[in-house]
Symmetry: C2
Subunit: 285 residues, 2 copies
């Protein structure tokens, strides 16, 4: 079974021992309920570093009051088996009380500029990226890794973490890892477990819609508004409640400038039954 | 002359080389214009660690729009001589452009809870402690020290940094160092240079006023309001414009609870001519 520690002191002791041997350390922060997408991040970290720490922590600070904090699936024993099988070296599984001894509302916070945190998912989840940036800063200070791997499925989260690291000079290299998909295109996500059988059959339409917009925009950047509007109508007709569907600069997440020839992405979030699904695709160059 | 580096890469190279030798690293962040008070911090750091890094950086993010950012004294050559003489090992002197490549307003920030940052100096200097916490987080990530030394003269700053470190799990031990004073009691400060000769003669009255309140409160905790009011009247009569003068819990900076037997401090800030002087003293137990 993978070695599992709850206390920051025990974590730091192990990482220090590795450092003393001259070994590099990679880090994959997760909320657990691990699927193939997470394991792909661990494999990326293993390729980049001698030892890999995975954390499992369902972070209350990044959940809104009406969100699924309590319902979020917790499957530690299965997660441990998967991490052992993939070859991760240490699982860090702190308690909420250890991470937020005075409660998350009383904790100092990391604020990434609003231009990055108040758009897209941040617009419908106020405070979400404050919670994400804060817990990742804390975890970076606990683990002190050389690199950390984040999935591109949560592209805005990746950009927020990159920005925090650059702005606050964290000595951690951030690695983005491509989205892993089911054979029908649905992005792997722990929240897919919320889908009923019939919703699961409809779910890949989100990815198809983003692909459709990406293809249309690749052919003609002047057609963004039209392509997005038609995709939203199509998704709503299939039973999605669309939260946003937008074309953005893939690196800065700024609104695209018509004249600039920068890489673009199409990002979307939509409710389907109990699940809120998010996904994004690159616009072909 | 003390080795001086401007680039974070050069700083990290030197610190890594020390780490590889098994040496511990202490850190003293300053805004330069070094006086005996700063050198006492360096001596403390030297007692606690094998190598000591001092930074000199006048941090624009902690100055308000109407404050003395431009006037703040910059005396690098003299500072280097003093640091060499006291035995510091490395001076880190980054440019504003290196610390805030996109400007400080566009930089991610560290927010310590308002209960600690919006009182005392924070009440009259909005955003000040946001700037302090952010630059110290950045410097900690650049230097990666084992310990860092801060003067107790800036007691609120010390408490803000302690809180930030604890809340965000920075692996840095924070050490508070006693206030160094002139023989007449005036706390050493770079801003004392703003005083005219006659103001300098009056300046120790701030410390005397704080001492008077501390003595009165030590004798009778029920007399706080009366002692503070009389001290303020006395200071204003001598030409000070009092910003605040308060009795607070010395560790949490919360308002004192009459029944509790916790350590107290008297903190004050007052304008005298061009200078804004701050000081604090412990209430005798």
């Amino acid at each position: 079974m993978i070695e599992t520690v709850q206390a920051t002191e025990a974590l730091r002791r192990q990482v220090s021992a590795w450092r003393a041997e001259g070994l590099s350390v990679g880090f994959v922060p997760t909320m657990g309920n691990l699927h193939e997408g997470h394991l792909a991040l661990v494999r990326d970290a293993l390729r980049q570093s001698d030892r890999v720490v995975v954390s499992i922590f369902v972070n209350p600070m990044q959940f809104g009051a009406n969100e699924d904090l309590d319902a979020y699936p917790r499957t530690l024993a299965e997660d441990q088996l998967k991490l052992e099988a993939v070859g991760a070296h240490l699982l860090f599984h702190p308690s909420v009380e250890a991470v937020y001894p005075e409660g998350e509302a009383a904790c100092s916070a990391v604020l990434v500029p609003e231009s990055l945190t108040d758009i897209l998912c941040g617009a419908s989840r106020p405070g979400h990226f404050r919670g994400v940036a804060t817990v990742v800063a804390k975890l970076f200070n606990m683990v002190q890794p050389d690199c950390a791997v984040f999935g591109e499925k949560d592209l805005q989260q990746l950009r927020v973490i990159e920005r925090m690291c650059r702005d606050l000079d964290f000595p951690v290299r951030i690695i983005g890892s491509p989205t892993l998909r089911e054979t029908d295109g649905l992005a792997r996500s722990s929240r897919n477990a919320y889908l009923t059988e019939s919703e699961r059959a409809v779910a890949p339409a989100l990815h198809q819609a983003l692909q459709g917009v990406a293809q249309a925009v690749a052919e003609d950047r002047g057609r963004i508004d039209e392509a997005v509007a038609s995709a939203v109508v199509d998704l709503e007709a299939r039973g999605f409640r669309v939260d946003y569907l937008e074309v953005r600069d893939r690196l800065t997440l700024a609104l695209p400038e018509p004249s600039a020839d920068r890489p673009l992405a199409v990002l979307g979030a939509a409710h389907l039954g109990r699940a809120r699904l998010i996904d994004n695709v690159a616009v072909p160059a």
